[in-house]
């Protein structure tokens, strides 16, 4: 897609990379972020290819949310370069807007619009950003709401939903935009195991259709089944970047070993 990226990709040196590998969609170099004095992200380098399913894990407070929020430009990083779909998103809004349109996000706290019904939450952006007409948008919304099992709650307001239901609406809302890249911040935290499985199915299917996913999650089972690649963060650094099988069986870093030990114990 973008010639100069090729060498960078090779230098990144993933085992299965080849000249016909998928194009790079997210390219982060030397990212540093401070909250006041607190150094939340340290020298993050990350290269994500189209269709990747990446799971971010790590202890609480390690900077996972911060990282994906930087990719979406919800937080401004102080240092480093973030290219999304070939555009430096730290540039002028006029350039980044069309790119960010293709990046969806599911928030840790859902952030549904409380004054809109479930349906309206889902069709608002497709209609006004993608220019869909109401019937099309509604059809699409029904499709995704169905997938997350929320079809029956179309006309409820967020305040009338349980935690898990809200989370599912948030997922559906993000999917309705049909983004090329989708960032999940603990999308299954409020879900019961049954529902987790359904959502997981949705995500697998998404990934198969070429959508790139970055997913922060604490569900290791989820990570094992969905991830194509696992990133382990600790204290603002990516301490391990591995395929899931190796990550769970023989993690390279000591920190990840200790982390996994706790779970498997």
């Amino acid at each position: 897609m973008n010639a100069p990226l090729q060498p960078r990709y090779l230098q990144h040196g993933l085992a299965d990379a080849g000249p016909d590998a998928a194009p790079v969609v997210i390219d982060i170099q030397g990212l540093n972020k401070w909250y006041g004095d607190y150094h939340a992200l340290r020298d993050i380098d990350l290269c994500v290819r189209q269709g990747d399913r990446i799971v971010l894990c790590g202890p609480s407070g390690s900077g996972k949310s911060s990282l994906i929020r930087c990719i979406n430009r919800l937080e401004d990083a102080q240092h480093g370069r973030i290219d999304v779909l070939g555009v430096d998103i730290r540039g002028a809004a006029s350039k980044t807007a069309p790119v960010l349109r293709d990046v969806g996000m599911v928030f840790q706290h859902f952030n549904l619009f409380p004054h809109l019904t479930v349906m309206d939450n889902c069709i608002l952006a497709p209609m006004s950003v993608r220019g869909l007409r109401r019937p099309e948008a509604q059809e699409r919304a029904c499709h995704f709401l169905d997938k997350v099992g929320m079809r029956a709650h179309l006309h409820k307001y967020p305040a009338q939903l349980s935690g898990g239901q809200q989370q599912r609406v948030a997922i559906a809302r993000a999917l309705c935009m049909e983004p090329k890249i989708i960032l999940f911040d603990e999308p299954t935290a409020a879900l019961d195991p049954e529902m987790v499985k359904e959502v997981l199915d949705v995500m697998v299917r998404l990934a198969d259709s070429g959508v790139t996913m970055l997913c922060v999650t604490h569900e290791m089972g989820f990570a094992r089944q969905v991830a194509g690649r696992v990133l382990f963060l600790d204290e603002g650094c990516i301490v391990e970047d591995n395929d899931p099988v190796s990550f769970f069986t023989r993690p390279r870093s000591e920190r990840a070993q200790a982390f996994l030990q706790q779970i498997l114990a």
Binding site: W34, Y35, G36, Y38
Partner: protein, 237 residues
């Protein structure tokens, strides 16, 4: 030009001291209303959220009446009304002769009522901005209603309410000019006196404007300080 400045100067021929005296009356009057008006407004706001129908009714009537009545009428009611009532009462006990209600006190009472009525709506709207989860958390912790109000709700309320309250305050500052009708010499009174005496309306109304602007600059500073204080915790980093 020079004689215009002379008109604003101190002493015999100038109106400067009169204007400043007026400013003092204005600011004292307005300041005296604050410790009554705002808390009373909060009380009214609490009343109109009460579960008791009677409390809600009282609060609604209070807010409608004192927002609805022209301030001048409220002032007259308090001033002349209380005077006539007091006189009737005294006559009843056989005392003949005039009783003079202190104009300043009447002004403070009347404007406190008005301030309370208007600020109650601001408080009320700020209450709506606080997520239900906060009150639930307070109840789950067993906090008393007073502690909940004072330690949990109030600090969060202030941030949202302050801009509205600053509106109330600035309105009050200027409404107090009505006290000239009960012969208190506030800024506006002194200004119009100066205008009639000198026939320099632009100059003196301009000067009054400047005085008000200075007052509101000072209060604006205080309000933005207060706003900073109450929103500090919510700022990221």
């Amino acid at each position: 030009m020079l004689d215009l400045l002379q008109l604003l100067s101190w002493g015999e021929s100038g109106w400067g001291d009169a204007l400043l005296a007026g400013a003092l009356v204005t600011i004292l009057l307005a300041l005296c209303c604050v410790p009554f008006g705002f808390p009373l407004g909060l009380l009214v706001a609490l009343g109109s959220q009460s579960r008791r129908a009677a409390a809600r009714l009282v609060a609604t009537v209070f807010s409608t009446v004192f927002r609805g009545l022209p301030e001048l009428l409220t002032l007259f009611l308090v001033y002349y009304g209380s005077q006539i009532a007091a006189e009737r009462l005294m006559r009843h006990f056989g005392y003949e002769g005039g009783i003079v209600i202190n104009a300043f006190a009447a002004g403070v009472i009347a404007f406190s009522l008005v301030l309370a009525a208007f600020s109650s709506e601001v408080w009320l709207s700020a209450f709506k901005a606080i997520p239900a989860g906060q009150a639930e958390a307070a109840r789950a912790l067993g906090l008393s209603r007073w502690t909940t109000l004072w330690r949990v709700t109030f600090p969060q309320l202030m941030r949202v309410a302050l801009p509205g309250l600053s509106n109330n305050w600035l309105t009050l500052l200027k409404d107090t000019s009505l006290v000239s009708t009960i012969s208190l010499a506030d800024i506006m009174r002194q200004t119009s006196q100066a205008v009639t005496a000198t026939r320099e309306p632009i100059l003196f109304y301009g000067a009054a404007c400047v005085l008000y602007l200075i007052l509101s600059a000072v209060s604006g500073l205080l309000f933005s300080r207060a706003e900073g204080f109450f929103s500090r915790p919510l700022q990221k980093a």
